[in-house]
């Protein structure tokens, strides 16, 4: 048989006596987008997850709709390392146009499953090749013509199941979940998978070392993407208004709001909405609506990415100056400009921090995992209403759109904080109301909501200079007093922000600082560095302005490395600005090429920095 020949031929040249490797590889499925491989990939990843094996799933997709190369990476790691891995051990080659290149990227000793109508180049004798007779197998199962291409993806599910040891029962359950019990597609797909597995059993000889076996390391955990977690967080935070404009990679956050709100927040039997979600005509309108809603008393939010953030600049300044609570999710993608809409980055830190003319400054939250996407989803409203200002949450494409294993999301442990609002009785009691007076000395003044039924309630909101009564003023002292209060307020904010996550290691000599989606890579790098005799403390930032813990961490380490995904080392720079006297010991480890960071890159970069 043709297939066996190839597998045989290659195996002859290889050390087939290798020890088996269990639950530790990075697998890439190379397809074209729009070909429907998502179901297949989800089935695989879910099956592994339910076999108790730590996994992550990252989709490297092009900025178009159909027909271009897409790579879906599944990493299985018994050690629980779920960051992107630089090496690929297993390649599922479904895209002929990238086949040669994909093969080249395969690690020596790696494995390639490929569609048997691809011409195999002769230059890789250090890998194992398994052909898959996709056309033939599909013909045998004979799905409806319209579904043919789609079902073809199930062939590799079946072959992989057989060759790696994915439990067929879990595959079946995964499909049940995917199709929410809908029998027809489940059966059709399963029949394809089983046929393929059977074929593989009969025709392929296992000569590679990669195996899967059930473990117990995902118990209680969930598999979710950050945008969904964020949307759920917002819902449990009592979001009442969201406006958005479609943009990759933020759209799925709004999608998730639209999906979950009706089921979670229906009132009295569920036909009336306790929220309003508006797809705006652009991002200027989206943030404007959110500001209007926040001013009116809603828990209001919008979600976007770089280009949208740019269009929100003027309103962001207004939120700061007029002190209007609003939550803005920036699911970062690669910039400058339109950049790479489907690639990840952490490049908007400076831009968001200073978004607005004049001395505008913004509060930023930095979720680093699924639990925090959820937690900051609700907490952001509390902070925004407490501080009466814009709160930006900086996620990124990797965090937002990829699949992450996570501890279960935790129900809010605090009641909603609506901040300082005066109602009719308060006004009656006080007998006076000055919107911008610092009554409590913390910089936060009291506000009233439109519609408050008291003659003292009204005030006039504006982006212009004003006195304590919100009346327009060009007086130098009014301006200065108000600015001082605003700074006092943003100082106060720190107490309401999530603290950094600090993990110390015995004998650590250097400090690492990171944030957001790079966390798994940093942790994995830490483990590798221990192997190189470098022990590190680790502080993961979760908010800006920096809390005292951050300052202390820097001060208490002789050398600090800030690891981030942007060209300039923006977070490193913000830290240096905060602590000029510590500036020289704060160093930058940065990479920004659109791919999620990997321990494979961080580790040598850090070793080199330490060596030099």
């Amino acid at each position: 048989m043709a297939e066996m020949q190839i597998a045989e031929k290659v195996s002859n040249q290889k050390q087939r006596e290798q020890d088996p490797i269990y639950n530790d590889f990075s697998m890439v499925v190379a397809t074209v987008n729009g070909s429907g491989s998502q179901t297949a990939n989800m089935a695989i990843i879910r099956s592994l997850f339910r076999m108790g094996i730590p996994v992550s799933g990252k989709n490297l997709f092009p900025s178009n709709i159909q027909g271009l190369p897409t790579w879906f990476t599944i990493r299985a790691s018994s050690d629980g390392f779920t960051a992107r891995r630089d090496t690929t051990e297993i390649l599922v080659a479904m895209n002929v146009t990238t086949f040669i290149e994909d093969l080249e990227e395969l690690t020596p000793g790696g494995v390639c499953f490929y569609s048997d109508d691809f011409a195999v180049p002769g230059n890789r004798n250090d890998i194992v090749l398994y052909p898959m007779p996709i056309r033939k197998l599909v013909k045998e199962v004979n799905p409806p013509a319209a579904l043919r291409d789609y079902v073809a993806n199930m062939v590799y599910v079946g072959v992989l199941a057989q060759m790696l040891g994915i439990e067929m029962e879990e595959v079946h359950r995964a499909l049940e979940t995917h199709f929410t019990g809908n029998k027809r597609p489940i059966e059709l797909n399963m029949s394809m998978i089983e046929a393929a597995a059977l074929w593989a059993e009969k025709n392929l000889e296992k000569i590679d070392p990669y195996f899967l076996k059930r473990e117990d390391k995902t118990k209680g955990q969930i598999l979710i993407d950050g945008n969904t977690a964020a949307a759920l967080g917002a819902i449990y935070g009592g979001v009442t208004f969201a406006a958005w404009y479609p943009i990759t990679p933020a759209s799925s956050l709004a999608d998730a709001l639209e999906e979950y709100l009706p089921q979670l927040r229906c009132q009295d039997g569920g036909c009336k909405a306790t929220y309003s979600i508006i797809q705006a005509e652009d991002e200027l309108a989206a943030i404007g609506m959110a500001l209007g809603a926040g001013w009116s008393g809603a828990r209001a939010m919008t979600s976007t990415s770089g280009p949208g953030i740019a269009l929100m600049a003027e309103f962001a300044g207004l939120a700061f100056q007029a002190e209007i609570p609003v939550v803005i999710w920036d699911v970062q993608r690669m910039g400058p400009s339109t950049g790479l809409p489907t690639r990840t980055s952490q490049g908007d830190i400076f831009f968001v921090r200073f978004l607005g003319a004049g001395d505008t400054r913004h509060i930023i939250l930095l979720p680093g995992n699924m639990k925090e996407c959820f937690e900051f989803g609700w907490k952001a409203f509390d902070i925004a209403e407490r501080i009466q200002s814009a709160v930006f949450v900086l996620s990124d494409l990797d965090l937002g759109m990829n699949l992450w294993m996570s501890e279960p999301l935790e129900y809010p442990d605090q009641p909603m904080d609506r901040g300082k609002i005066l109602n009719e009785e308060d006004l009656e009691r006080l007998g006076d109301f000055a919107r911008y007076r610092d009554v409590d000395g913390d910089g936060i003044a009291y506000r009233t909501l439109p519609g408050t039924n008291h003659p003292l309630a009204a005030y006039f909101t504006r982006g212009t200079g004003h006195d304590e009564y919100a009346i327009y003023s060009e007086r130098p002292d009014d301006w200065e007093a108000n600015m001082e209060r605003l700074w006092r307020k943003h100082e106060t904010a720190k107490a309401y922000l999530p603290p950094p996550v600090i993990e110390k290691m015995d004998g650590a000599s250097i400090g690492l600082i990171a944030f957001g989606s790079t966390d798994p890579a940093v942790r994995e790098a830490q483990a590798r560095l221990v192997g190189e005799n470098i022990r590190t403390d680790y502080l993961r930032l979760t908010s800006i302005p920096f809390r005292d813990e951050v300052i202390d961490f820097v001060r208490s380490h002789e050398k600090v490395y800030v690891i981030e995904m942007n060209h300039d080392g923006q977070m490193r720079q913000l830290l240096q600005l905060e602590m000029p006297d510590q500036a020289v010991k704060i160093h930058s480890i940065r990479k920004n090429n659109g791919l999620p960071l990997s321990a494979g890159w961080i580790t040598p970069a850090l070793l080199e920095a330490e060596g030099g």
Partner: protein, 350 residues
């Protein structure tokens, strides 16, 4: 027969049905130029709200940036106001009103604010049919930045410093019409009575009500030839009907014979009486409305009145199927789903 409403409420010491005096509808002293049309419109807003017995605390006054957009500071200090960003009032309005459906929103904008920088938000606001009164104080110039042409300046209009405007004007009413707006009116600051009656009607309309009011800028665009001047308006205004608003709680007192006018019942039960003048005009006919605008533009006359009305379009809060309680008044129990619900959701991610 005279309309009793008017009589009942006249006199400064009187109160309206809310027990409020005209003084309770006052704003801060204006800082606009003496004689500016915007001041006269602000007066009519106050009068309309007073006479309609609208509780000022329920009103929000919103605007963009410009002399016109400043004017919310000069009426009804007992209402919350928001002088937002240039051209962006519609988005502020959308968020503010959706989350509190009991608010009565009065938006004041300029022609620069609405037709130049803001035309996009304006059109999309209308598509959504957000309930609000949207007044464009149209003077054909940027007042606050000292007299440049705005997008409503006439093609031949001349400004001292700048010369002749070569571009075709944006017709605010036409834009509103083709965006399917259900209440389109045009008026003239020099015709305060009509302005007031139209504002009253707009306040009773459940949807976006657009009022394009020619409001002369006495400082930068009041030369007699300008179609945005007092002189031109006085000379060229042709009301398409005589407008009288009769509140819900009033008897309707008609001072015309059958066939001489139309009555339009508004959403809150009040009535707008449109008395026929020279020509028959049916404000419920969209095509006729479009043609009226086309023709009066060509003939260079200022046709004023209620150009179009269509009460049958659902306002945004209905499209959104919102609960009756304003969203801003929902409590934590309404807003934060139960711990059990979260556990259920989590199960689906396993």
């Amino acid at each position: 027969m005279a309309i009793r409403v008017e009589n009942k409420q006249s006199g400064p010491s009187r109160t309206n049905l809310m027990g409020l005096t005209r003084n309770d509808y006052k704003g801060r002293p204006t800082t606009l130029c003496q004689g500016c049309g915007h001041n006269s419109i602000a007066s009519q807003i106050m009068a309309a709200c007073y006479e309609n017995s609208i509780p000022p605390e329920k009103v929000i006054k919103i605007s963009g940036i410009g002399c016109s957009s400043k004017s919310p500071a000069y009426f009804m200090s007992r209402s919350h106001g928001f002088n937002s960003l240039h051209g962006r009032m519609p988005s502020i309005a959308t968020g503010a009103v959706l989350v509190n459906r009991e608010l009565i929103a009065i938006g004041v904008s300029g022609d620069g604010d609405t037709a130049s920088i803001g035309i996009g938000q304006f059109i999309h606001l209308l598509r959504r049919n957000l309930p609000m009164v949207y007044i464009v104080e149209n003077n054909g110039v940027y007042g606050l930045t000292k007299g440049q042409f705005s997008a409503t300046a006439d093609k031949v209009q001349v400004l001292k410093k700048i010369g002749e405007n070569p571009f075709f004007p944006v017709d605010v009413c036409m834009e509103a019409l083709i965006a399917n707006c259900g209440f389109v009116a045009r008026s003239f600051a020099g015709d305060p009575k009509q302005v007031k009656e139209l504002i009253k009607a707009a306040l009773s309309f459940n949807g976006t009500a657009v009022l394009d009011i020619i409001s002369p800028c006495v400082t930068f665009n009041n030369r007699d030839e300008s179609t945005k001047s007092y002189a031109w308006g006085k000379e060229h205004e042709i009301p398409i009907h005589d407008v009288t608003f009769v509140p819900r709680y009033d008897e309707i007192a008609v001072d015309y014979e059958p066939g001489e006018g139309t009555e339009v019942e508004l959403h809150d039960g009040s009535t707008l009486m449109l008395k026929k003048l020279e020509q028959d005009y049916d404000p419920t006919d969209r095509k006729a409305a479009i043609m009226l605008l086309e023709e009066t533009r060509a003939r260079q006359v200022l046709a004023t009145g209620l150009i179009y009305i269509n009460k049958d379009q659902p306002p945004l809060q209905e499209v959104e199927e919102l609960v009756d309680t304003p969203l801003t008044r929902l409590r934590e129990e309404d807003l934060r789903p139960s711990p059990e619900s979260l556990l259920e959701v989590l199960e689906s991610f396993r």
